[in-house]
């Protein structure tokens, strides 16, 4: 965990990079997550962490920390992202309370 432990070539890092830049990919993701995971070549461990919404596990696998709150927003939305918002609380659930 932390920026020193990022795995730059991890498939999930490429996925998060692309998905924020491409609304079509975001639509694909929400329609068929498994197809997008397969297209990007995620490992079983990455897929499991994504499906469990386990932000901490994704960080442990080498996803860049900056992407972790963004992953919570991919699932819960980005609008009005205050500390009690669903996205922030999803992050808090694994990263702070269980971290």
């Amino acid at each position: 965990m932390g920026i020193k432990n990022v795995k730059p070539d991890l498939a999930s890092n490429r996925l998060v990079f692309d998905i924020r830049r491409d609304t079509g990919l975001m639509d694909d993701f929400h329609q068929d997550m498994d197809a997008v995971f397969a297209r990007y070549g995620l490992t079983d461990a990455e897929v499991e962490a994504w499906k469990e919404l386990n932000i901490q596990a994704l960080g442990d696998l080498g996803v860049h920390p900056y992407f972790l709150p963004q992953i919570s927003r991919i699932f819960k939305g980005g609008a009005y992202n205050h500390n009690n918002s669903e996205a922030a609380q999803l992050y808090a659930k694994t990263m702070v309370e269980q971290g």
């Binding site: 609304t23 900056y66 609008a79």
Partner: protein, 281 residues
């Protein structure tokens, strides 16, 4: 010969535009007043061009393909990128670039040995969308956006950032078009930890220490003590955005900064501040 007329640094946390009403009212009022004040001071210098320095947030440079600097060379920019619109809660905007100035800056950075690339196709997020709203609400000042890698190791050193600021001041004086009134804006920080365990915390002690070094114009202590590690300890995921503040500090090169505002805003998940360096008329 162009002129450096404004030299500033400020935070760009998205909560300032996205969920400010969640902050205590007195804190929110002080934040708005402070950011409006830095905007007034900025516009009073009547700049034609902003040379901006901000974290790319891995939005344009992928984690496995970062550079220290990416100079935006397009003649026109727009923001925010689609996915960030509702998060930021700012209206879509367009702002002019400056192809000639950006090419000169890129060439001078590369010529001096900096790891600098360029792009005509940069997406903007909070990095420009938040500060521009307060600095140039009419979007009538051209922007050369210089995206930095502030969060993927190995990071550019504070010393190199300071030297880049010194170089930019020289480029403005010697190489940019005659009569151009130029502002340098570093944006990011202060302490925050997106992606880390301190996501809901602010390190006020660190922030006030960092600001005190700017206010003292103490570059020696800053470069000796405000290391990557020290910044990271105040928030591993984001505090190193303060590397962008060392560039206007280098451009000021010994001039003391004035803090316009500072709020350790837990509601915005960021130490929020703005400073400026008074440049000679």
């Amino acid at each position: 010969m162009a002129e450096l007329v404004a030299n500033i640094a400020l935070s760009h946390a998205p909560g300032l535009t996205g969920w400010l009403d969640q902050a205590p009212k007195d804190e929110a009022d002080r934040l708005v007043a402070g950011f409006e004040e830095i905007g007034r001071r900025f516009r009073a210098t009547k700049p034609d061009l902003i040379i901006g320095l901000a974290n790319d947030h891995c939005l344009n440079m992928p984690v496995d393909g970062v550079h220290d600097f990416c100079v935006g060379t397009a003649p026109r920019w727009q923001g925010p990128a689609d996915w960030f619109s509702d998060w930021l809660n700012v209206p879509p905007y367009k702002v002019s670039g400056h192809a000639e100035a950006s090419a000169i800056i890129r060439d001078r950075l590369q010529g001096a040995g900096f790891d600098a690339t360029d792009s005509q196709d940069l997406l903007f997020d909070d990095n420009w969308s938040v500060p521009l709203l307060y600095l140039t609400p009419d979007y009538d000042v051209a922007l050369v956006p210089i995206h930095m890698n502030c969060i993927v190791p190995p990071l550019i050193s504070p010393e190199k950032c300071y030297a880049a600021g010194q170089l930019l001041a020289k480029v403005i004086r010697e190489d940019l078009p005659d009569g151009l009134r130029v502002a340098i804006m570093g944006t990011g920080g202060l302490s925050h930890d997106p992606g880390g365990p301190k996501y809901f915390e602010v390190d006020e002690e660190f922030d006030r220490w960092f600001l005190s070094l700017l206010e003292a114009g103490d570059s020696q202590t800053m470069l000796r003590e405000a290391t990557i590690e020290r910044m990271g300890a105040a928030g591993d995921g984001g505090t190193t955005e303060l590397l962008s503040w060392l560039i206007p500090m280098g451009a000021a090169d010994g001039v003391a900064a004035t803090t316009v505002c500072y709020e350790p805003s837990v509601a915005l998940r960021c130490g929020m501040g703005a400073v400026h360096w008074q440049m000679a008329a």
